[in-house]
Subunit: 392 residues, 4 copies
């Protein structure tokens, strides 16, 4: 049979969508596939920038919108959102009957999709399993649980694949492909500093500017206020312009946003953006002097740019980095020192230009598409035999 | 501090409750603990015998009833039920703020509790992780995922503990305790055959009777009708009385129940029970000539009774058994042959009397209670550091 | 613009679907409309006969299946089911963006659809508003609330329209059309008694047989067991065959079904059917000597057949009837007397042949289709101005 | 029996809570009652000021928190929130088994509570039924539907009671009590202008200041941006200080908040408050020169203060007002003219001092408590007989 394979991608936040996008773009253009997108979670909230519009602008077919995000910062909110998401997902899966569902990462969407797929006997392909985030984070538990219920694994690093093997996943289900987000990142056009300034609405052509992206830590959101202030104090004590991007939708993001609003009012060197378009964002990093905060961009994309990164606090700790990242605590003095080194230590800066990025070479989405084209969609794929425990 | 530890046990089906009961009974009587039970799932459905009444009769405090079971046999029903369950659980957890939540097994309740606990930073103690059921069953995926999100593991077999270690769980979180259901099973009073006959409402004092318990297989429920008929044909071809117990609430159980009703009408040697009380059930097994079907009783309790078991079909395959189980396919001839051997092969029957039961010695619930009494309820317990992957 | 009008019909039980069907059939064949069906509630449960298969067999396009029915007989089950239904409905409405949603009656589906339509600014056309069921029934509250939130009213009786006017509904929104179920009922082919016997699987050619349909009363389900036994005792005390149809899915139906199973085993004159096809059902009534129970068939369809009806208990009390109905309490003696009169009182039986049926003339569905074709779909339709209270 | 009557009040937004509070305070102090509060909706969202803290500070027992508010401004969000709310409410109702549930108004909470109570056979007492808001508003539909499913009606105005009678509600269920919010409003201590200035953090002792409160209109939220700007342009064209209070949580509130933030940055005469405490708010109105916008405060409380009100746009149109309200469109010139008249027309201002407030005399909560103390809690209360339609 040469029927098209029905792929349903599920996305709940812009961070996932950015990883998915290069894969979706290729699937969309490929006659072997029929692609639809289920949009849910933070994408559908004005409080998080209504990022569904990016998906609409990109021209994909939206299968359904599953509104599930509970309007609260309390921990209970995430899991109630997850519970409500499941019935919406199931309704769509039942209608469309996809051959494969595609999902990324370690957020509520990942676990709810893998659960729903597992119970409904639909193949789930999971991108970015086997990763680990160190210290106090539910993300690891959710990511592992997602892997145990998924049928195809697209990992980012070789050692993530090894982790999945240790977890008892079959080798034939695991494909080390790198991070698809890099595909797009590396292929986006380059803006001049002048063009970038036009996009931003103010001049950065002569600036050694900083970029700050700090997401809340779900397991420690009580300290978000103190932490973000430690960072902001470090930033304003230096003279450089700092362009700040909104945090994601995790509990505690409110506190961070409030702090940004307060500091932006007081310090004209600070600029706050709620939703930068991708082209602007990439070129912002390409021209930045240093990236601050705890965004995965510092780990994953920055090495390809030779960009120095100051990673602040527990988030991203324990992840493989290419040598361009200084890890510091939520401490103003440590942050200041790390920024200074990043801006002024010439041998450090020089060393960053020669980095090899362990997160990929810009070809990840092709690798994923080829697996999705060729993998046997049979009961062997769906019914996982976890055999290693039975040999004893 | 010597405040009582608040334990919330969650149960969604009688099979779980039977495992939990000996633990609950001890916690209830222990001044160090304050115990409540959240009742959900099949317990609240008349179609599954309204088994909440057992919990009420046992005198436990019911924290909340979470009605979530969708009235359908379709696969989609289980996962929608699971999704709805989460918001109910979360509401109760948020109100009660238990120190530890206790859950058993690999059903929807297990994964929904572990997810909700993980997102809400409440310690989850999981009984019966690390187990494996061979072939075609979502139970494995769900059980592993549950383990990856739980904080304390009470395993039944030593090799289950080893499996959890391989899955990256910390050794200090894992306690091999055996199966608590055995505690109660072994301690229940013995009825004479005459007393048993009175309970049943018909005479079995001179019968070499069979007991049949066959649960549906969620991943293969399309074949339930064929499979149960294969079993029933084998049973009726022999002359023995056969006492049949209702299947559990998994998708496909309807088909099994319909077949039972049809055969019971035609064959007076068959007797169908919807909800046997525990005392009757245990003594039914103590006096049975052979147990048929795919109930875990054949694996776990039967060895302590020296009872021969014919396990039919994929369910229970791959589980450790003590030598009293003949595994056969859903094939009438195979089933007949295995029953015959079980009834007539003297050396086989003799060998069963000397079995050691790998599933425990009747002391499991005490072991669990002692761990719950002493374990530190701190952030180290809640925040799982999955460190083995970061050493590379 | 002459775009097709998108109609989404929602149905949750066979009783509604039977009323909707003649309308759906006409919409389906009409080039001015594009019709889809959302299937939910009892249709999706094997316990209620999986009646979605009728909709599939009838060849309609199913927009989505919303699995929502909680598996319990407790009162809480219906409202939880209703709550879960809403998010499923909303997801479908948001995807399809129908011009008009069509709904019938006073069940959970009616109120959940009207609520969802009202909040989402989508026109809801409600069939069978303004009706009243006397004594002890939530149906009235739900039906009135549904009317207050619906935008177009198709009523069955002239006095139902008057009731809606009193409730403050605009006259232009109200259309007295009769009961569409009659359209199909009257147009179905006539089977001979011999053909009917073949359908049933046993002979009724020479029988003065009874038909029994008794639904539970949600507000009094504790007495269902006593009530149904009162009826069954009356039936078996007479010699006539009695053909029994399953009750609907309301709380308490279990008790009725159990009683049926018990009596059917004991009395060979009783015959129990779970899901009669429509042709058989209609001809069953055409040839029946008397209809017993509390089905609306006795009120609505029976007059067109001149069929005597014994309506037992509170259900249907207070509804307009054509003179063919004897209303009795749940009392064996009263029931027996009323059956006797129905079977033997010649002048009574003769009078029934000349009845005019107030529930319609078989043309209701055409009237509904014409309104749906012509009504202005504008904000005046959607935004209800309830003006009569402001004039004071 | 003299057992305490169990009252469960449900509140989802501060506006309702302010109406409920005087009743709750009295029930709390009364030995005949046992009071608990179920908190849900906007109370639990940081985006709406986490107003649950007021309830906690007031010292009431919180029965459960039902997190249900979907994080979106789209219309679909409200009804999905409502659906999810129902299962949470039902879980609590089932656990507590209240004698009476108390609810206010026409928001999602009102309809979801009345539905859940009706299906679970629990008496629902509804405050503020029979009211009407003119033009384009779902509130009327929801309020009427709520009344049709509630068992006791506490109305605010005599004509609201008449409306309920016309709707077919029994006279004995209807009690005209006035608006309880006035009880508290009238009894709160008076601050001097100096004390008020201290509370506000800036001086208003010599100011003829305006107060602006504008809520979104759910059926017209696409025009919110234009409308709020029309108002703000009028305000800034005059010199007066204007103290602005945040809108409620209805869809479209975001647009209003954004406009406020923009104007506040540009115009130092504008002051924006997210959550004024009640004492400050009342004294703010007592000392204000004019109240603008579309808050119900202008209709209900302002007459007791002789405060001139400019009501802008469709919200509140059609409500009974005492003569202190000028109704204008969302038009800058009209708004300016009405403010000018309110500030400078001496005979108009003088006439306001002599108003009688039709919304009550400060004794409403006592009246409600007395009904709750004495009403028979029997099946006659629960089972509504809507008889007027059956007489025809």
């Amino acid at each position: 049979m040469n029927e098209k394979r029905k792929i349903l991608a599920v996305t709940g936040a812009r961070s996932e969508y950015d990883i998915l996008y290069p894969v979706l773009e290729k699937l969309q253009q490929d006659a072997d596939f029929e692609l639809q997108i289920l949009v849910t979670g933070a994408h559908l909230s004005e409080n998080f920038g209504s990022t569904i519009r990016h998906i609409e602008e990109d021209g994909f077919t939206i299968a359904d919108k599953v509104y599930n995000l509970i309007n609260t910062d309390q921990k209970i909110g995430r899991v109630i959102s997850l519970g409500h998401q499941i019935s919406g997902l199931a309704q769509t899966f039942d209608r469309i009957k996809p051959d494969v569902i595609l999902i990324v990462g370690d957020r509520e969407e990942a676990i709810s999709v893998s659960l729903t797929g597992a119970y409904m006997d639909i193949a789930v392909a999971h991108i970015a399993g086997g990763d680990v985030t160190k210290d106090g984070n539910i993300d690891n538990s959710v990511r592992y649980a997602t892997s145990k219920m998924s049928h195809i694994h697209f990992t980012i690093l070789e050692q993530h694949s090894k982790t999945l093997l240790k977890l008892g996943e079959d080798a034939w289900r695991i494909h080390t492909v790198g991070n698809p987000a890099l595909d797009r990142f590396l292929s986006l056009p380059t803006l001049t500093k002048a063009e970038l300034s036009t996009q931003l609405g103010f001049d950065v052509t002569h600036d050694e500017y900083l970029v700050l992206i700090q997401h809340p830590i779900i397991t420690d959101f009580e300290n978000e206020g103190k932490h973000i202030r430690a960072t902001l104090e470090a930033v304003v004590s230096l003279g450089n312009k700092c362009l700040i991007n909104y945090p994601n939708s995790d509990a505690g993001n409110h506190v961070i946003i409030e702090a940004y609003r307060e500091y932006v009012t007081k310090y004209p060197q600070l600029f706050l953006f709620q939703n930068l378009d991708r082209l602007t964002y990439v070129n912002l990093l390409r021209n930045a002097a240093c990236l601050l905060g705890n965004s995965s961009s510092g780990i994953i994309e920055a090495p390809s740019l030779g960009l120095p990164v100051v990673n602040i606090g527990a988030r991203q700790r324990g992840r493989v980095s290419a040598g361009n990242v200084i890890f510091v605590d939520n401490d103003t003095e440590q942050i200041k020192a790390a920024i200074s080194k990043s801006l002024t230590d010439k041998s450090y800066r020089t060393s960053l230009r020669a980095l090899t990025n362990p997160y990929g070479d810009g070809n990840s989405s092709n690798k994923i598409v080829e697996v999705l084209r060729k993998i046997n969609l049979d009961s062997n794929l769906i019914h996982k035999n976890i055999t290693y425990t039975t040999h004893e």
